[in-house]
């Protein structure tokens, strides 16, 4: 079962602002029933240009319903300029947080708001229609992915899926998403690959060995163990067919090192424990 905050539960069980504002100044619908969630947002301004009323209708899970209530509550009383500054993280924070896999509900809220504001301003083309579709299953564009990666400091495909749904269907676009993450990461090295603490580094090395390297070696009747990590030196022990063969030692070092460079950090070097 999902760990929902009390506020999410409250807004889910007792949703506020459900319906359509009559004669709205701005309106939009985002998402679709095929994707599993959809949100329709309408708002009306008062004479001073502040949002007087906002209502929604939504198809989706508990966090989608709660996010929709949140966005309508948050924008009431704000000017358009104030409202358009709201990010998906603001929506999640307003709800006391959302489970990782449900962050896309807050993104949906932000998208609906953006599109409704665009509708108010008379710009028919909204921002999502810019760019080209990367994820065909959920119709997510490179523009949307890039923006979410940048705004939320994302560095894995899994996170992109949690936030935008992109990559959550057939998985055919994972490589393209990977490229976008890298591209954004290059603009700002901190975002692409955060500085690792020692414990994080050791954990990631261990995971990479267990998940990426060991199954490969086991196929050939070998095995590998992580002995120690000293600074950027990764000390491993090996066993099996290739362990006794000096020549294959180099191949092994190259294989393990390149995997660790790819998955963890470029600075690592691999050494075999002396026998």
């Amino acid at each position: 079962m999902w760990e929902y905050s009390d506020k999410v539960k409250e807004y889910f069980l007792n949703p506020k602002n459900v319906g359509d504002v009559e004669d709205p100044d701005g309106e939009a619908i985002v998402g679709s029933i095929a994707c599993g969630d959809a949100l329709k947002l309408t708002f009306k301004l008062d004479e001073n240009g502040r949002i007087k009323d906002a209502k929604y209708k939504t198809f989706g899970c508990a966090s989608a319903i709660a996010s929709a209530t949140a966005i309508t509550e948050m924008i009431k009383g704000k000017t358009i300029e104030e409202a358009e500054k709201i990010t998906n993280q603001d929506i999640a924070d307003f709800l006391g947080g959302l489970p990782d896999q449900k962050m896309h509900c807050s993104v949906l809220g932000r998208q609906a708001l953006e599109k409704a504001i665009a509708n108010y301003r008379g710009s028919v083309s909204d921002k999502e229609s810019e760019g080209k579709i990367i994820c065909n299953c959920f119709g997510v564009t490179d523009f949307e992915i890039e923006r979410t990666v940048r705004e939320n400091n994302i560095n894995t495909v899994e996170e992109v899926t949690n936030f935008t749904k992109a990559g959550g269907g057939c998985g055919g676009c994972h490589e393209a998403i990977e490229k976008i993450i890298k591209r954004v990461g290059n603009e700002n090295p901190q975002a692409g690959r955060p500085k690792l603490s020692n414990i994080q580094k050791i954990k990631m090395i261990e995971e990479t060995i267990n998940r990426e390297i060991r199954p490969y070696l086991r196929n050939d009747g070998g095995d590998i163990y992580l002995i120690d990590v000293i600074g950027n030196r990764v000390i491993v022990a090996t066993r099996g067919a290739f362990a006794s063969c000096k020549a294959s030692g180099e191949t092994l070092k190259h294989l393990v090192e390149s995997k660790l460079h790819e998955m963890v950090s470029q600075d690592l070097s691999v050494e075999e424990v002396s026998k």
């Binding site: 701005g26 599993g36 209708k57 198809f59 028919v124 899926t161």
Partner: protein, 401 residues
């Protein structure tokens, strides 16, 4: 708040008789069945009696039963073993609606170079037997088809499928985890070579399963170690749980027929009343070819997780095939394989009953569910069905003025 448990395909309550039978094996009867003293020997004797009871439930011979830790272990072992003993065969046939214990394992084997054929199902969840027959080939190492589907309860003609495999010399496995204890299984009358059993689906505890292995079927063990289970599954026997599953098998053998008809009556009442009271709802899966305890119902234009959480407020436990509950972003692979439209798939709820459910509980659900669906539909932009929310005026207000 009282718990109303309608999620028995997920797991079941341990029968009180089962618990009573198990308890002594946690305390005074702790001997190792392999030991050379009568203290351990007594446990070995009871363990073999439990094996006979599980065999009796399947009308099999006691030496065809191997105890395992769970249904997943039985499934994995059955498939891996068939590949190990026929290293030159590289093809596996399964269906598009299998449990992950088979499906994910086959996906992994595919990455290792095995060819996997997933037999499709139609919109009622029935297997395409023509495609199945055409897929059987000399390269096929094993067929693995579930006996009954965990989400819809739809029963596959595994006995016929096994016969077709046998005539071509192909090993046949069935994941019967949802069928055992709910419908009669008679291994003397079919050609199934391997069959997976899970204790906790029929009132034994979690953490115990069995693999039926027909005499004469070539086999290679998964766990290697001591001589337990006649070298077919190493590891000291989980004696309390084995005794427990023996007891639950005994109860199922004695009561299945009677209990099945009671459960079926409750399930049918639940389904019929829901369909009557809630418009735009439908049953998923061929109604006449299902387990007696399973109801998979879709409610159009609402989302399953929301329904579950509102039921949860009344202590009602069920499950859903919607994307949001699975942790993935797409509805269940079973409903997708059946081609259930998205408007229906996201709003699917599975109620799975057991003999511990009562008519009062069914009535309670029938009373509580319609207002929940109505409330969620009142929030939904797609309700009523003839409205089209995407049909927004593209022109903005300014242009209108």
């Amino acid at each position: 708040m009282k718990t109303i448990y309608f999620d028995n395909n997920a797991t079941t309550r341990v029968a009180p008789e089962v618990l009573d039978a198990m308890l002594p094996y946690f305390s005074e009867l702790y001997g190792n069945p392999s030991s050379m003293h009568s203290f351990g020997g007594k446990v070995a004797y009871e363990l073999e009696k439990a094996r006979e009871k599980v065999a009796a439930l399947l009308n099999a011979s006691h030496d065809e039963i191997i105890f395992t830790s769970c249904g997943t272990e039985s499934d994995n072992t059955a498939i891996r073993s068939a590949l190990d003993v026929q290293p030159d065969k590289r093809h596996i046939i399964t269906s598009s609606v299998e449990h992950p214990a088979v499906r994910s394992f086959c996906n992994q084997l595919e990455l290792k170079g095995y060819r996997i054929t997933e037999i499709p199902v139609d919109q009622n969840g029935l297997l395409d037997m023509d495609i199945y027959e055409k897929s059987l080939s000399p390269d096929t190492a094993i067929v693995s088809l579930m006996w009954a589907n965990n989400e819809t309860g739809v029963i596959f003609p595994v006995e016929k499928a096994a016969e077709m495999a046998r005539s071509r010399g192909i090993i046949f496995h069935t994941d019967a985890v949802q069928a055992v204890g709910k419908i009669p299984i008679d291994m003397a009358k079919n050609y199934i070579d391997k069959l997976s059993v899970s204790g906790h689906k029929f009132h034994a505890p979690k953490g115990i399963g069995a693999l039926y292995l027909r005499k004469g079927t070539k086999y290679s063990p998964y766990l290697i170690g001591g001589h337990q289970e006649k070298n077919r599954r190493s590891g000291t026997e989980n004696t309390p749980y084995i005794i427990g599953m023996g007891k639950s098998a005994e109860l199922a053998s004695a009561n299945m027929e009677k209990e099945g008809s009671v459960v079926r009556y409750l399930r049918d009442k639940l389904e019929n009343e829901i369909l009557k009271r809630i418009p735009n709802s439908r049953i998923n899966g061929e109604r006449e070819l299902r387990l007696p305890n399973t109801a998979n119902i879709s409610f159009e234009f609402v989302e399953g997780e929301s329904i579950l959480l509102m039921l949860n407020e009344f202590g009602i436990c069920a499950s859903s095939g919607s994307a949001c509950t699975s942790g993935s972003l797409q509805p269940s692979h079973v409903l997708r394989a059946m081609g259930i439209p998205f408007t229906m798939a996201h709003g699917s709820i599975r109620f799975s009953l057991s003999v511990y459910n009562t008519m009062e509980e069914v009535d309670f659900v029938i009373e509580k569910l319609p207002p929940i669906i109505e409330k969620l539909r009142s929030i939904s932009p797609y309700w009523p069905p003839d409205s089209n929310p995407h049909d927004l005026t593209v022109r903005t207000k300014h242009e209108n003025e």
